[in-house]
Amino acid sequence: MEKIPQSLDDKILRYLDGELNTAEGLAFEEELNQNDSLKKRLDQLQDIHLTMRGKMIEHPSKNFTQAVMRKLDQYPVQARSFSIRNGILLLSGVLVAVGIASILVSAGVFDNLNTTIDLNQVELPKKYFERSLPSIPFSGKVIVNIIIILNLGLAWLVLDRAILKPLFQRRLQGDH
């Protein structure tokens, strides 16, 4: 069977859905009479159309409703990816890391970690860079401070999502 172009597939579907006007419908039926491949393709799509139409509804088990009603108070349904206990552990870990980093910063451990990254030292093809490239100052103290700030943000997120929110949800359910 020769391959049916997509435009004809489109036309068959429009024909099956009753979207062709009278003139288009008649012209298409005429085309069907002259083209066996088109007729076969129509039969295929029509078979699917008839089998699928209105017969796809499926029914759950008889005790479906009772099961739902029985479980209504068990919420949240999905196990949380993070229990409150794990949230507290993660929060403690993040805070300890922030604390240690802060102590090291205030003790001046990172003060000497100052350098500049000279981009001219990077071996790049000269033809792309005619001018000299800038040097980027690198301060260990600034980097560690940024990491501390990011960790504080993470700690706040963990506190909110993994501890406070589930705690209030549980309390609300308790009230019901």
């Binding site: 997509q6 579907l13 039969d43 159309h49 739902v68 009603m69 349904v77 999905q78």
Partner: protein, 185 residues
């Protein structure tokens, strides 16, 4: 059940009459289960996912703003819940239901209805879950394109194009399955 009586039930549930929710479950359980089953291709999982979706809907009922139909809102939850289940079980083996192709003597458009439906289900299983669900909702003839789009999280135009392509792809997949069957005879 009219829209007004449905809103009346929702108001009662929100006021604390939990038992009334059973009426909504009874009304929508078959469609909810059908959607979940089309995505998960496994009756037991589909039943669990559909039940979970009803429980989620119950707990978020106050968030239903009545701009859309309750059914669209509910089926969207069912769709998302089933997709989550699917992702969770992605690495499990395919169920027998989706992999077994049984022997049949008919090959080219002359299958009896039972066989046709069985092969069609196998062909449907080859589509992705969104196309499968959109196609099922389309053939149920209960949903407008806008509702199908709302449930599956697409734009109406995208839904129309995807359903159209999925119908053609389904026919092609069915043809391949029947050809393979013919070769094994």
């Amino acid at each position: 059940m009219t829209k007004e009586s449905e809103y009346c039930i929702i108001d009662k549930v929100l006021a604390g009459e939990q038992a009334v929710y059973a009426e909504l479950v009874n009304k929508y359980k078959s469609y909810a289960f059908t959607i979940a089953h089309k995505i998960l291709q496994n009756r037991q999982e589909a039943e669990e996912a559909a039940q979970d979706a009803f429980i989620k809907a119950y707990h978020h009922l106050s968030g239903f703003n009545r701009d859309s139909k309750f059914s669209t809102w509910l089926y969207r939850i069912v769709f998302n819940t089933a997709i989550t289940y699917k992702r969770k079980n992605k690495y499990q083996f395919d169920s027998i239901e989706t992999t077994v192709i049984e022997y049949s003597q008919d090959t080219d458009g002359m299958l009896d209805r039972m066989d046709q439906k069985k092969y069609l289900n196998n062909a449907l299983a080859k589509l992705n879950e969104t196309d499968r669900t959109a196609l099922t909702l389309f053939y149920l003839e209960e949903f407008s394109l806008e509702e199908i789009a709302g449930i599956t999280g697409m734009r109406a135009n995208t839904a129309k194009v995807r359903i159209h392509r999925a119908r053609i792809r389904l026919a092609d997949e069915l043809k391949i399955i029947l050809k393979q069957e013919a070769l094994t005879l």
